[in-house]
Amino acid sequence: MTADFEWFVKEVQQDMHNLALALTGGHVHEAKDLVQSSLERIWARWDRLRIEEPRAYARTVVAREFATVRRRVRWNFERLQAATPDLPVDDSTASSDQALVLLSALSRLPRRQREVVVLRYLVDMSVAEVASILSCSEGSVKRSAYDGLRGLRAVLRQPAEGGDASCR
């Protein structure tokens, strides 16, 4: 069973990290903490788990952990939003530029819209799943999804301030 967990970690770690990065708007350290606490949550009940789809399960745990942590530290977290996201800059390929632009744009969305856009469109959760994770109504999810997409579109259409986002 122990070896299974190591396999599981290898299988899901990248998915979890990418989702954590997107949810935190590109805050690398918060994302790492989120992955770590999510995996701890999984390991704590590993013996009782029957996981059929590791990646989907891991994504759900990350999303729920994020929602829980956000509620716990809401006050601090919102104060920190003024800080520039510490976007990962250790990959200079064109594809990574695209990802950086996405993270940068996500970081400029209001928190709830970002959460909904990430869960609904990046990891393809249903409206009902997102509503359950974020403890809000399905109507609120739909509204935030629409506003979030519109906000992202506006952000992505703006010329980058101070040059190319990939240069940050």
Binding site: V35, E40, W75, V101, L102, Y121, L149, L152, R153
Partner: protein, 280 residues
């Protein structure tokens, strides 16, 4: 935004997301070590049934003791034992309404000293005892006062009872705190709702002071509500560490002026109840 534009945007997002760097690795052993460390804490959880009479709270508190999780910086050397109290208090002290109904003054005060009080058995058959504690509050500022009642001026001091310690049968002592509540640690500042017993003959003079109840203290280091000591640890505006519906949660991160406004607004809606009287 049209349907096509939305779909195009979603496609772009998915494509960018798929292009995110693939270079993250987690150490599974580190995850296991962290969980094992947390489990060691929970194995040390104690459940003590019985009653603690905390004089300052004016009521009986049934503690269900546990070791706290490991967040935050501890302000006392030993691990703090947490008791969930308040259910059997005779007077509520959580909301602005509770404070206006029951308190005579609300002050910003620093704890400047402490002394041991009397010991009483926990009643759980282990031989453990609850040891009381008295702390000295040095009043920095009176934030709110009930009209016509006794006051506390800046610079004055009052001694009130606070959660003390659990004295184990093996001779060790563990600091006790109430669940989600400050312990009243020397060197920290708090907002405290105090109720007075007043003389029958002179209701403007306090014969004695006590905290209003288990919800009557809010950490307030540097004058910011929700920041300071709670459960023996440093808290910094942690909403989950506050009681739902409480005055503390309502004003988390605000200054003491906001507290005064909230109490004034509450008072405008209700008549104050008379303070307890005693013969002097």
């Amino acid at each position: 935004m049209s349907m096509n534009e939305s779909e195009e945007m979603v496609r772009q997002l998915a494509s960018a997301y798929a292009a995110m760097p693939q270079q993250f690795e987690v150490d599974a052993d580190e995850v296991k070590r962290a969980v094992a460390a947390r489990r060691r804490w929970s194995r040390r959880t104690v459940a003590i049934t019985g009653a603690v009479v905390v004089a300052a709270l004016g009521g009986v508190v049934l503690p269900q003791l546990r070791q706290p999780d490991d967040w935050g910086t501890r302000t006392v050397a030993a691990p703090v034992v947490i008791g969930s109290g308040g259910a059997f208090e005779t007077r509520a002290s959580t909301t602005a309404r509770d404070w206006v109904e029951g308190a005579n003054v609300v002050v910003v005060a620093e704890v400047t000293g402490e002394r041991r009080g009397t010991a009483s058995g926990t009643g759980d058959g282990t031989g453990d005892k609850f040891v009381g504690r008295w702390v000295i509050l040095a009043v920095e500022r009176q934030v709110w006062k009930r009209a016509g009642g006794p006051a506390l001026t800046s610079g004055s001091t009052v001694e009130v009872s606070a959660p003390g310690w659990v004295a184990r049968a093996d001779g060790s002592m563990a600091p006790l705190a109430l669940n989600g509540q400050p312990r009243l640690e020397p060197g920290h500042t708090y907002v405290v709702a105090l109720s007075a017993r007043v003389c029958r003959t002179d209701t403007t003079r306090a014969a004695s002071w006590s905290t209003l109840g288990s919800g009557a203290v809010i950490p307030a280091d540097d004058g910011v509500l929700g920041f300071g000591e709670s459960e023996g640890r440093i808290v910094a505006g942690d909403v989950d560490h506050t009681t739902p519906g409480s005055l503390e949660r309502q004003l988390l991160g605000d200054g003491t002026d906001a507290l005064a406004s909230a109490l004034d607004a509450q008072q405008a809606d209700m008549p104050p109840s008379p303070p307890a009287v005693t013969s002097c």
